[in-house]
């Protein structure tokens, strides 16, 4: 077993060697521009792009003509939301999203607010799930778009996509989903889920960084977005710019592997994740954040009460994870996602996110369990809050000096 261990796979994943292998010819040999229509270099590149488009479309149940390549999910989210707003502004200015969305969605919505859009930010329940009834109540005659993530990046909670899709369809409202964390990990089917626009990226599913896509529905209804990048009119005029051929080939290969191996990966990862989680929950006062039923198979977000997350990460420096504590940020604010669940700030400060991957081994998980448990116990011995808890003092009864 090699140290450090990488368990931050919701941030990014290692490129699968098979993906890397598929990409290599497109750097040195078949390096043509896919838009060059008049020579074999261009034809080869175009052929590779077309094939990848099919591989990607197949994973999400789409038609290959509905795949628009972008630089990644942030750009896809920007294109979807800004593009829909510009295209359908005459119909209405109201957009619905949720407080636990990624910043790429939230900040895009904030930008549109300055341009006259009205945005509803829906709350979530304590388990991170959005209530479909809340969405229905928020839809107005001038609502043009509902934008909700498929699965959350911090807690892995999967939203009831099919119900939301059906609701949007019945109300004639477009439905966009940031599916960055879901695609390649759980079955995503744009037709069955009733999704009109879907953002995805390669580097969260063992593909390369810098390449992503936006699915834009062509039938029932035919959706259009205004381009946010002007130029040569690539990608059906929705996203200009020379195509990143090696990246696209890698993205395609990653999607194909995900489609073929998802079932077995899921079974193995869920087993490992559940084992990690159940062992760590044996520590007193530790809690899983987010709904445990409707959740990505490879994510566990756990709070270890009375231990601060960043201090904890320092004690487990051989293991790469993320914390909801934001001790490093100037604002000292903990994760807004965990806060949105209604978690006490101190629980948010005490959280770690474990994200497993196709490459994670049982041995690594055993090491992680042992290391994290030792660190939590060591830091609790050092924690005044733990001592007070053990003495039965209610921490809420103390007048803290905020700073």
């Amino acid at each position: 077993m090699k140290l450090p261990i990488y368990l931050d796979n919701n941030a990014t994943t290692k490129v699968d060697p098979r993906v890397f292998e598929a990409m290599t010819p497109y750097f040195l040999e078949d390096f043509g521009n896919a838009a060059s229509r008049n020579h074999p270099f261009g034809w080869k590149a175009e052929e590779a792009v077309d094939y990848a488009r099919e591989q990607i479309a197949a994973l999400i149940g789409a038609n290959e003509k509905e795949v628009i390549f972008t630089s990644g999910a942030t750009e896809s989210n920007n294109l979807a939301i800004k593009g829909v707003f510009e295209m359908y502004e005459a119909k209405g200015k109201h957009i619905i999203t949720a407080v636990t969305e990624h910043k790429a969605v939230l900040d895009t919505c904030k930008h549109l607010e300055k341009l006259g859009a009205e945005i509803t930010y829906l709350p979530v329940g304590i388990d991170g799930l959005i209530s479909v009834a809340d969405i229905e109540a928020a839809i107005r005659p001038d609502t043009i778009l509902v934008s909700l993530m498929y699965a959350n990046n911090e807690i892995g909670v999967v939203q009831p996509m099919r119900e939301i899709g059906a609701l949007c369809k019945s109300k004639g409202v477009l439905f966009h989903s940031d599916a960055t964390q879901a695609v390649g990990k759980i079955p995503v089917d744009v037709l069955a889920d009733g999704i009109d626009l879907l953002s995805m990226t390669a580097h969260k599913m063992y593909g390369p960084k810098g390449i992503g896509a936006l699915y834009v529905r062509r039938k029932n209804p035919r959706v259009k977005v205004t381009a946010q990048m002007d130029g040569g009119g690539h990608e059906r005029g929705m996203r200009s710019g020379t195509l990143n051929v090696p990246g696209i080939v890698g993205f395609g290969k990653a999607c194909e592997l995900a489609r073929l191996e998802m079932e077995q990966d899921t079974e193995r990862l869920m087993g490992l994740r559940d084992y990690l989680e159940s062992e760590l929950l044996k520590l007193e006062e530790s809690y899983v954040n987010g709904n445990i039923e409707h959740r990505l198979p490879h994510v566990a977000n756990i709070s270890f009460k009375y231990v601060e997350g960043e201090g904890l990460m320092m004690a487990i420096k051989d293991i790469a994870v993320s914390s909801g504590s934001a001790c490093t940020s100037a604002s000292l604010e903990p994760s807004y996602v965990l806060k949105a669940l209604g978690l006490d700030d101190e629980l948010a400060h005490s959280s770690l996110r474990f994200g497993l991957s196709r490459f994670t081994t049982k041995e690594e998980i055993d090491y992680t369990i042992k290391t994290v448990a030792n660190a939590v116990n060591k830091l609790r011995d050092m924690s005044p809050l733990w001592e007070m808890f053990k003495e039965g003092i209610d921490l809420k009864s103390i007048e803290w000096t905020e700073h």
């Binding site: 009375y306 601060e308 320092m314 504590s325 934001a326 940020s329 700030d345 924690s383 000096t401 700073h403």
Partner: protein, 138 residues
């Protein structure tokens, strides 16, 4: 973000972790910070009432590595000092000693606050008025 070697040393081998009898008239306890902010420090001093010398100091801290290191260092510095000398410990001395980056300066401020709070608690037990904190941080 990389931590300095001194922070790592204090974090891995914290000095003077523990608890003194807060009911004792010789012991002053300072509890500063808030769980919601992600840092809570409890710093205790045991003073010889005859000499005014701090004979023991203990801490417990909930917080990041820099917060733990700041309080560990503070207890080291407090031991053997007179209460009056302890009041001269400045948060910037801690910043310098531990090479804390700007985002971690609040950890040193918290440690200084904890020292002052512990001394005031001790003074109150001796029937003395608290020392006003005239220093403005930031």
């Amino acid at each position: 973000m990389a931590y300095s070697e001194k922070v790592i040393d204090h974090y891995n081998n914290p000095r003077n972790v523990g608890t003194l009898d807060k009911a004792s008239h010789k012991v002053g306890t300072g509890l500063v910070g808030a769980p919601e902010c992600g840092d809570v420090m409890r710093l205790q001093i045991e003073v010889n009432p005859e000499t005014g010398i701090i004979e023991d100091a203990k801490f417990k801290t909930f917080g990041c590595g820099s917060a733990i290191a700041s309080s560990s260092l503070a207890t080291e510095w407090l031991k053997g000092k007179s209460v009056d000398d302890a009041l001269t410990i400045d948060n910037m001395d801690i910043v310098e000693e531990l090479a804390l980056p700007p985002v971690k300066i609040h950890c040193s401020v918290l440690a200084e606050d904890a020292i002052k709070a512990a001394i005031n608690d001790y003074r109150a037990k001796q029937g003395l008025a608290p020392i006003e904190d005239t220093k403005k941080h930031y």
